[in-house]
């Protein structure tokens, strides 16, 4: 994100302010169409996300008590969003070590530390794991860049 937001200039403070989980997942998974200005894309994803968030909260507060259907389970939409982004990211790379480590380490930490306390140990262990796997992952990454460069030349 640091490099992605590097050239954003005046928009940067706002982009940092608006960098929620949801914005983050869209900005790092979103394939920005070629004709779209990347900075604008980041800005409007952040802005719309904030607007939806506020509008949703206000609407919920105003009419939440009037809803007469059972909303139990509607929070699954967040799970679904993260799953969709996970699938998108999975398809965008041939190396699934990092994705699998994220699921695996978090799952193990959940079993050991319980649902209220597993997040921080999981984040630490994921970082440690990725640090140890750096040589391997970077070699693969370099191979891929090489391939895409040669492909680019042949076109």
């Amino acid at each position: 994100m640091i490099d992605r937001y590097k050239e954003t200039g005046k928009k940067k403070p706002y982009l940092i302010f608006a960098l929620t989980d949801e914005t983050y997942s869209l900005v790092c998974s979103g394939d920005v169409p070629e004709r779209v200005d990347q900075k604008k894309y980041f800005f409007f994803v952040s802005l719309f996300n904030q607007c939806y968030w506020i509008a949703g909260s206000v609407l919920g507060a105003l009419i939440g008590s009037l809803l007469n259907f059972n909303t139990a389970g509607i929070d699954f939409s967040m799970t679904a969003l993260f799953l969709v982004v996970f699938v998108e990211q999975w398809k965008s790379t041939s190396n699934h070590l990092s994705a699998l480590a994220g699921i695996g380490i978090s799952g193990i930490c959940l079993l050991i530390f319980g649902s209220d306390r597993f997040l921080i140990p999981a984040m630490i262990l994921i970082t440690v794991f990725l640090t140890l796997a750096r040589r391997r992952l970077e070699m693969q990454h370099a191979d891929k860049t090489l391939v895409s460069e040669t492909e680019g030349e042949s076109k």
Binding site: I2, K6, V84, I103, S106, I126
Partner: protein
């Protein structure tokens, strides 16, 4: 809890959240080149974090007692399957959530 107390709590939470969010951008500002290790992490971390967020969302799933996480499992399969098939984000989320809501409200009561 008085209104003032609540307001102060929100203010502190907002300040800490904002500071934490801005910290990496302040430390690695544009003037210096971002260290290779940080760039490496920013390349590989999103995959792991998204996996972690999925686990986080499912952390409350009841495995041992009925319904043994079956509604979650079915809904997740629907989301992933539908997304691999149609690749439409909103559709996958909407149908997946609807399936989950029907399962826990009508099937696994």
């Amino acid at each position: 809890m008085s209104n003032l107390h609540a307001g102060m709590l929100v203010a502190i939470i907002a300040l800490v959240t904002l500071l934490l969010r801005a910290l990496p951008f302040i430390v690695f500002n544009g003037k210096r080149k971002t260290p290779a290790f940080i760039t490496y992490l920013s390349n590989v971390l999103p995959y792991a974090i998204m996996g972690m967020l999925v686990v986080y969302c499912l952390r409350g799933t009841e495995i041992i007692m009925p319904p043994h996480g079956i509604p979650e499992l079915i809904a997740c399969i629907v989301v992933v399957g539908l997304h691999l098939w149609k690749r439409n984000t909103l559709l996958s989320i909407a149908i997946g959530t609807a399936v989950y809501m029907m399962l826990i409200q009508l099937v696994f009561i």
